[in-house]
Subunit: 330 residues, 2 copies
Amino acid sequence: MKEPAPIDRLTALLADDLAQVDGHIKDMAASDIALIPKLITYIFTAGGKRIRPLLTLAFAACTGTRNPRGHHIELAAAVEAIHTATLLHDDVIDESPSRRGRTSAHMIFGNQVSVLVGDYFFARAFQMMVRSDDIRILEVLSGTAAIISAGEVTQMIHSGDAALTQERYLEVIRSKTAVLFESACAVGAMVTDAPQASCEAAGIFGMNIGMAFQLTDDALDYDSDVQTLGKPTGHDLLSGKPTLPLILAYQNGTATEKAFWQKALGKGNRRDLPRAQELIVKYEGLEHTRALAQEYSQKAIESLPLIKTSRPEVIDLLADLARQISDRRA
Amino acid sequence: MKEPAPIDRLTALLADDLAQVDGHIKDMAASDIALIPKLITYIFTAGGKRIRPLLTLAFAACTGTRNPRGHHIELAAAVEAIHTATLLHDDVIDESPSRRGRTSAHMIFGNQVSVLVGDYFFARAFQMMVRSDDIRILEVLSGTAAIISAGEVTQMIHSGDAALTQERYLEVIRSKTAVLFESACAVGAMVTDAPQASCEAAGIFGMNIGMAFQLTDDALDYDSDVQTLGKPTGHDLLSGKPTLPLILAYQNGTATEKAFWQKALGKGNRRDLPRAQELIVKYEGLEHTRALAQEYSQKAIESLPLIKTSRPEVIDLLADLARQISDRRA
């Protein structure tokens, strides 16, 4: 029998904590207004891996021993709620018809509900994190929320822009994705009063696996099918998001190929996909993107020895998780 | 020469503090992404009265003497930023073509930008309030943000519902408007470490003038013209919001009149306005709405003697302001 994947081993190890996180999320979704829990439950039952709260819990588990009030649970729940609120607004911005293989919430409930329930859940996330009673952690997480939104604005500005540079693309994914991974890890260490060096190393780990996570996602979008990733292949092309596989193919492309990308990006025409995938193969866009993701995972792993821990087995699982993230295949 | 209105006298009295609030708001709007300050500046220069931060500053000025770190400025700025973020999303939800007599931001910048910049400003508001370094205040303001969003969801659910009850309508305006007034006042007292009774009385004042404010706005919407309120008369009818003048006319109306309201509410047809105004006059909808607003202002004024103060002149101005709010005329 194959050994379970690192994420599943971490999930099993932290099952009790995760169950409490789920309870908090259910509480946050609660409202007299039936539509609110209905929409939030719809997003949750879509079956994400809850990797962000898992990271908070893992760093809380492996750093320090002080955490008498159990605030790591609340922080893990707040991190997942920020992520969920972002998803609700993302779907509206992207006009994406599906997410994780299911119809997008905004297609069923409407854009207006998605915007308002996203706002509600964002506010509930802040309420939850205030319960941590730690101003430093509140500074980190409120700053993170601002960076995510700014990253989303930048991404939107560059929608349809096939000539986006790799540097700018990396800035976008750092803001919109990696910073929340960074904070998820850092606050897990901060909440146990871990030494400054451990908190910083946790943040560096998170930032780097966040980059690896998004780069791998962006490769999979040109590589996978609905069964494996749960979203339609080519979603980024159809919705106008220039990602690294495309950026590399564009930069190295002929004038005719550049014209194709400019015409195809964001036009939502599935008939452009075969040609797009063919050009990405031609310029080895997926290989380069995956290689960069693996570099980030490697950097993440290198930060782990700086963390003071009494549970080296959790640190080992985190290293395995970093490898798993950039090794995901269609 | 006519004496300046209470709001202008309060504004003059607190001019130095208000200038600092403006500075903080400018800082919060700052971003490398030019579009963000551009949109936020567009909203601010529309020239609202900044009544919410004024209330925070007024209560900070008249309660207690302790406030060594000057956090009332930051809290006033955070309160205004929450309000502004809400406006950005409101315009998207309402599909309103104008606000305060100018083209709505979302019409110029697009819905997607309005949603994301609203998120950004909301996060920046949280960053700003975290600087108050006071967990109780953070609990109040994060709870307020959740209540506002829930109120907006309820309002949206009842869009186009002419049969909305007065009780439910009052719940909606309490959530979407009055709770932020309540918090604006309460945190102004809390930040000076005012006695519990003063903080509570400040909150009660705010809640009641918030109700008076929204009721009067809702009356003016059937009463005013673009010159005085800065938004087109009948905006609520056209955008589908059942407000008290309409609710009263509907409840007391004949079957034919009820059918008219059901047909007109939310259809966006300006030709329905004269008949709507005629029916509201017939059932004295504006008089009843204004009378209720005045009751709320009266309740607000009655809470003021419970506030321990060394500056009775500020308390007197707040009482005058409560009267001004429910006396606004087209």
